[in-house]
Assembly symmetry: C2
Homo-oligomer: 288 residues x 2
């Protein structure tokens, strides 16, 4: 699988056909609207008005899953299942993976190109759930929100206001952003998604969930590395406690602020310098 | 306290003095750089180069806490404590509250105005920790990141690249964003920050932590209300399970997907329609 931006495909790149899109590696399915599955996540989708329940707000797309429709009429004739591409988009939600969005020309969207297909940048799956669609059958719906450094290739018309100004809601603030990296996925796999503090392994419909916690943070001013020896596999509760410094790790891997000892894995060696760096930021005694 | 944007103060608004800033209600402290405390959070800070350890990258500020410096020389002569404004910024981090940032003219920052003071928009506290400063004494540091709908009032020079393109790190994706609202804070207070599923009350250095989970989501296409009867008070682990639909609530408040029953509070009435809406999105049987 190839997630995220492709080096030679800028936002706004036009394609004349699904075949051209496939050849360029942008959407590696000739027919299906979703490229990907439950194990890996979905790397791209094509939004082309094939489903009557789709909604396109530009930066926000409510996308209908695949399956259950008559290929000739496009009409929904059966329930959709959480398999194939639908399970792929659910996995992308759980793992926070970027999805390339390609819009195809169709009259149902003010944001689609006039002709052909166009790469519109990276979106993230904010929500995945099912409803009874207009047809009376169960359809899966995925809310995707655009997060791309490049401005969108359409003129800014009719776009939804950001969540912060939802009508009637006074104030929405960001409490916490959980990020994921390539190495975080690796540390989670090494621990089979069990929290290194409490052993909890959270089960979701598309596999287990855990978070990779960078011991020395990635961002400025710390600039910690995205390496296995700078990562812990934690459940959300212990990730929060670790990030707030309410829980720390001693040199012998025993825990400070909570009982017990950090669970280890053979292939996961933690760098003691990062543990000390974390401790120096929060411990009442600043010396490690 | 008054958090967030002030209706009559646009981003870029200039002020000639700290007194003028105070009179306008933008920064309600005449001397202190931080307005606020542990109980409420910090509503604003003034960045004016008073501390030798400050770092200003425009959209990202590494801000030094208050205290322990000689008022005449500005030199650090003692350890800083997690009290007063420092505890306020820590609380803002835990609660995800917006902080108004005002820059004052000083030579140490490429982003400060040439003269006077300027309101630069809303920032969020991403990180709060202590280090041994250049002086050899303990100083608190707060990393604030700008998140404001209005573009910044300075020319885009020297700005840090976004986290996604950190050098040497292949890929950073957003796994989860936890938001906070006025009513979420209320539901958490009603349950004294104890999770309605497991009873856990997470303790932090500035008080307890919990998350308000909207049963019918706020965003499009659901547009659920930010009201008490549409909220649950949950720990991060159970918030995740609820948002993924791996845990649901039955009409009699018993839990589906995990054992037990939802804990209730006298003043917190849950609307059964929202519980059913949530169930309809994830339950194998779509009918509520």
């Amino acid at each position: 699988m190839a997630f995220g931006e492709l080096p030679e495909i800028p936002v706004g790149a036009p394609f004349t056909s699904r075949r051209a899109l496939l050849d360029a590696g942008v959407h590696r399915q000739l027919q299906a609207g979703i490229a990907g599955g439950a194990y890996t996540g979905a790397e791209s989708i094509v939004v082309s008005g094939g489903y009557e329940d789709d909604e396109d707000y530009g930066d926000l797309i409510v996308y209908t899953g695949q399956g259950g429709n008559d290929p000739n009429t496009g009409r929904q004739v059966a329930d959709q299942q959480l398999t194939l591409g639908n399970a792929g988009l659910m996995k992308s939600r759980v793992e926070g993976l970027p999805v390339r969005v390609i819009r195809g020309a169709h009259p149902g969207s003010a944001f689609a190109p006039a002709t052909g297909l166009r790469y519109d940048g990276l979106y993230y799956v904010e929500d995945a759930y099912h409803v009874i669609g207009k047809s009376g059958f169960k359809v899966w719906r995925f809310t995707l929100r655009r997060q791309d450094g490049t401005p969108p290739p359409w003129a800014s018309v009719n776009a939804l206001p950001p969540v912060v100004t939802l009508p009637g809601i006074k104030e929405v603030t960001v409490l916490r952003v959980i990020r994921n990296t390539a190495m975080a996925r690796e540390v989670k796999a090494l621990h089979d998604y069990a929290c290194q503090v409490c052993g909890l392994r959270i089960e979701t419909p598309v596999g287990p969930y855990a978070e990779g916690a960078h011991i020395k943070p990635l961002g400025a001013p710390h600039r910690g590395p995205d390496t296995l020896d700078n990562l812990l596999c934690l459940c959300p509760n212990h990730h929060l406690l670790f990030d707030l410094g309410a829980m720390m790790v001693a040199d012998d891997m025993s825990l400070i602020g909570t009982a017990g000892k950090l669970r280890t894995a053979t292939k996961h060696q933690i760098n003691i310098d990062y543990i000390r760096y974390h401790r120096s930021r929060y411990a009442p005694e600043s010396s490690p």
